[in-house]
Subunit: 209 residues, 2 copies
């Protein structure tokens, strides 16, 4: 109608985000739903994006899916004092940033059951995040030699992804309320205690199992 391709493409991409933002939306997503939501004929999706996969790829590239390290740092000020506090703040900020991104949470959930252009993008962004965090934090601190801090961070990141994605539907996990400020603080504190314990106990000279 408006005869404006750029605008139409934007409407389509926005519709993807809107559908994805609705809880459980990833399950019913498809050309018809997107077209209807965008108020656009579905044939344009094929023409402009080459189908669903291309559409997902374009959406993944364009939208603000992942928190940057800077954003995580903004959510929780990252202290420069010691490594444990810095990493704890980083993970806590990461978790908080995830919770503010319903689309990303949906994409994480989706990633668990289906690989597509979106999940590949997520993997790349996760990797990027790891690199940024490394250059930001590890440059200033020494890591105790016997700790595989990368594996520990992977465990914490996996937990963050899982808990954030599950939390979007409410409920509790293993006795911790996910949609509740109290439960969220418990998780933050646990993350802090984990990093503090792992790094300081290891620094004290004990070998890790």
């Amino acid at each position: 109608m408006a005869r404006d391709r750029a605008r139409t493409e934007e409407k389509i991409l926005a519709a993807v985000g809107a559908i994805l933002a609705e809880a459980g939306g990833s399950r019913r997503i498809g050309v018809n739903a997107v077209a209807a939501r965008a108020g656009v004929d579905k044939v344009l999706i094929y023409r402009y994006f080459g189908g669903l996969e291309g559409l997902f790829a374009a959406f993944a590239e364009k939208s603000d899916l992942w928190p940057t390290v800077e954003e995580a740092a903004r959510m929780r000020a990252i202290p420069e004092t010691d490594l444990a506090s810095a990493l704890a703040a980083l993970v806590q900020g990461y978790l908080a940033s995830l919770r503010r991104r319903p689309v990303t949470l949906e994409a994480i959930a989706w990633e668990m059951s289906e690989r597509n252009a979106l999940s590949e993008r997520l993997d790349r962004l996760r990797e990027q995040w790891r690199r940024d965090a490394t250059t930001r934090v590890f440059r200033q601190h020494k890591v105790p030699a016997r700790v595989d801090i990368e594996a520990v961070m992977a465990v914490l990141a996996a937990a963050a992804d899982h808990l954030a994605a599950r939390g979007r539907m409410g409920g509790s996990f293993q006795g911790v309320a996910l949609d509740d400020p109290v439960g969220q603080k418990r998780l933050d504190d646990a993350i802090g205690a984990i990093l503090e314990g792992v790094l300081n106990y290891a620094r004290a000279g004990k070998e890790s199992a």
Copy 2:
């Protein structure tokens, strides 16, 4: 044909498991697929189980979805010496048990995007597991007062669920190879180091953040 309701019900339930076991199967599961897989008319699913929800409920009740604490203990001998080692062995055994259950991993992935009878059952089993683990391990050991060990265990369980479910599709997570023995050992060691650090460092008298 055989005119044997019990046998037919079994065939249907087995078909659910078979479809669920195929990677990404949760997405395409439905009455038609199950009936076809079981070699049975779909109307019997409605008659015997009252539809998909009832079928899932029956499947969730009947099948061996979740590792018991005893099984986890069998995978990794649980030492009685100290709490950190016992809990580490428990979580590592839990993770190993999960990896041997493709249907459960599929269900965990599914649980992320849709709530149904199966996911409710999973939640209940998780809760049961937590209780069993508690009575088994915590009876013999003292927990440092300042550690919210329940929250720490929730973090580790979430990580285990996430890493196991993602690992079924191969690939790596944050630099750790999930389908590789080396990567899996790194994760096990990280879990061990986390529990050791959290409990022993806390016991040493430091407050947790």
